[in-house]
Point group: C2
Chain length 384, copies 2
């Protein structure tokens, strides 16, 4: 399943020794064709890891024959030598796989920023991974890219004669400006690179892009979509976009569900906004309000903190016409006290906030998490 759910793909996940604890840390995904079409979206962070700089160039050519992904080190802020390490990794993959060129090998890394990768372990790991490539290696590949993830994340949808599958990792530093963390999607549909690119951008814009667990944007975010054409089916464009969006949405929801230390998954529906951009701006402001995130952790339907978050945006609204529901109880009406807050049932993991801007007809959904002592512990007790 995962990246090997679609025909025409091989994958492997192994322990190369990059992680000190001996857990799997190196994944290889190979497109065996007949087509090698690909597209990618990357972090909006201007401090980009070496593998992001490399893979952005690779994807520009519209062809990717293989993706090599490591956990245990981000290879970010490592200077020219770090970039050479990424280049050497792609060369090694091309060497061990017959008929591949380094310029068509994408590289992705995740882990601690500011530390060089142990190339003496990584390069032999590439040989080991290549030796273990199989048509059902998707699960192992998904496991090998985990960092603080408690579970591995995979998804797939089967359509009429073709399939889209994928894997993702991510449990913190989750506030993508374009994509999020590492994800590889594969399809056996016969789709050219330009159409893959359009589909991937459309899908990530309303899925990975609207996940905001902790307001922190990674240096390494990478989402790749590879098409093998092995099914021989040329899908209808809209159906293909919808399938890619479905897999991205499934994986994005899994990221939120596994966020570091979180006890609540928060769905924020901003409705009746003047524009979709304004709905997203308001949703992100609510998602990033630490005081609200603490209140929701304490199962306190503190709508005043929702209003104070909306008030810091530049979106169109009249403070006296704002309405806010928490779990469908309209606790704030016309900017003031609404239904009894005691009616809000906060016992479940999923919390739904609806912010009605009363300013138009556009809307957006942002997903976030609460702020907990466990999040503080996970991110203060050791470097990550």
């Amino acid at each position: 399943m995962s990246v090997t759910a679609a025909q025409g793909f091989l994958a492997a996940g192994i322990a190369a020794g990059i992680k000190a604890n001996g857990n799997p840390d190196l994944a290889l995904v190979v497109n065996s064709g007949p087509r090698l079409a690909a597209a990618g979206v990357f972090t909006s962070n201007r401090v980009k890891a070496a593998p992001v700089v490399w893979s952005e160039q690779v994807v520009k050519g519209g062809r990717v024959s293989a993706v090599i992904l490591n956990s245990g080190g981000a290879n970010a802020c490592t200077g020219p030598l770090g970039f050479q390490d990424t280049h050497a990794t792609a060369e090694k993959v091309a060497d061990v796989l017959d008929g591949h060129s380094a310029g068509e090998v994408a590289v992705a890394s995740t882990g601690l920023i500011g530390v060089r990768l142990p190339m003496d372990k990584l390069l032999p790991g590439v040989e080991k991974a290549a030796a273990e490539l199989t048509g059902h290696g998707g699960e192992k590949a998904a496991i090998a890219i985990k960092t603080t993830d408690s579970v591995h994340k995979t998804a797939q949808v089967a359509k009429d004669g073709w399939t889209v599958g994928g894997m993702a990792k991510g449990a913190g530093m989750l506030a993508p400006g374009l994509a999020t963390m590492l994800a590889v999607l594969t399809t056996d549909a016969d789709v050219p690179a330009e159409q893959l690119d359009a589909a991937l951008r459309a899908a990530t814009r309303t899925t990975f892009d609207r996940v905001d667990s902790d307001g922190c944007t990674s240096t390494n975010d990478t989402v790749l979509l590879l098409a093998s054409g092995a099914s021989g089916v040329v899908p209808e464009a809209a159906a293909f976009v919808e399938a890619v969006r479905e897999v991205c949405g499934d994986l994005a929801r899994q990221l939120i569900g596994d966020a570091e230390g979180a006890s609540k998954d928060i769905r924020i529906d901003v409705i009746n906004a003047a524009t979709e951009d304004e709905a997203v701006e308001v949703g992100r402001s609510i998602a990033r309000n630490n005081l609200l995130k603490c209140a929701l952790h304490g199962e306190d339907p503190n709508w005043g903190r929702v209003l104070s978050a909306i008030g810091t945006t530049s979106a169109t609204f009249d403070p006296d016409r704002l309405n806010v529901a928490i779990n469908d109880v309209w606790v704030c009406k016309n900017g003031s006290v609404g239904e009894d807050r005691e009616l809000v049932d906060m016992r479940y993991r999923e919390v739904r906030i609806t912010a009605d801007l009363a300013a138009g007809t556009e809307s957006a959904v942002i997903w976030s998490n609460d702020l907990t002592a466990d999040y503080v512990h996970e991110n203060s007790a050791y470097s990550s």
Copy 2:
């Protein structure tokens, strides 16, 4: 001391019963002249509490004869009835003080958003406070405006024949867009309203405005500056601005030092920026990065998280020329690994981050705090 350090001011702080626990919750500051000049700066949050809307109008007239401040309730998001409560409070103050007009009485409130004030307790409290006004009541007034503050905050500077003093409250929701929380400054210098306004804006711009404890902007932020002229001294304009800035800076530093649940006070120096605005943007981005705030709580000099925060801004910089010092150890040089991070001594409460953008000659200092389990507890265990 506090607001009664300058001549010409009376103050009182009493328990009106607004707070359930019986602690002091109502402060009154009266300017006995001969002048009644005043200026004010208020929250940039577009969701403004009723007392902010009221006091903005009062201050536009350039005259304030009295300020009434309550803790125990923000009177924010309370609709037209909440505004009537503020109006009634000002009328009550004008009634009990001979020769005052409600249009010259400023009102400030702080506490839980979305709850009406208990006017049956507040209005009798105004009479009680008026009866206790004295020329040394500044300390009691400072105590009465506390909410989650662990200590009351006062400051004063004495110049050649004139004085500026003040009080402030604030321990959370600290990310002023213009001012922060509640603060009242008084002076016996003879300064007209326009000059007070210029001095207050200049002073708050680099003090209260650059405090960013938790990224959350209040609905109630109010800073007032009242001049009695009682000293008869007309100070030189620059010296007056400097004195106001000194008092604001002192109070702002006290806010950070008492932030909810914090174990570290973080001073962020952004240097060599292209513009001062860009320096502030970068400083705020660093101040608001939850992962960095957790790392500093854990005494981990995690400079990668500083770079990832800088990378999300639109400031002018080249990622390969960024330098970062933590407690004066340059752990990141030219965007990559610098001096040994083991050299950084993180044992003390104050942590200093220096971010060198290598893009110009401008700079700014932002103050923040770490993110702790105690912050989560204080803001999740009960509504505030």
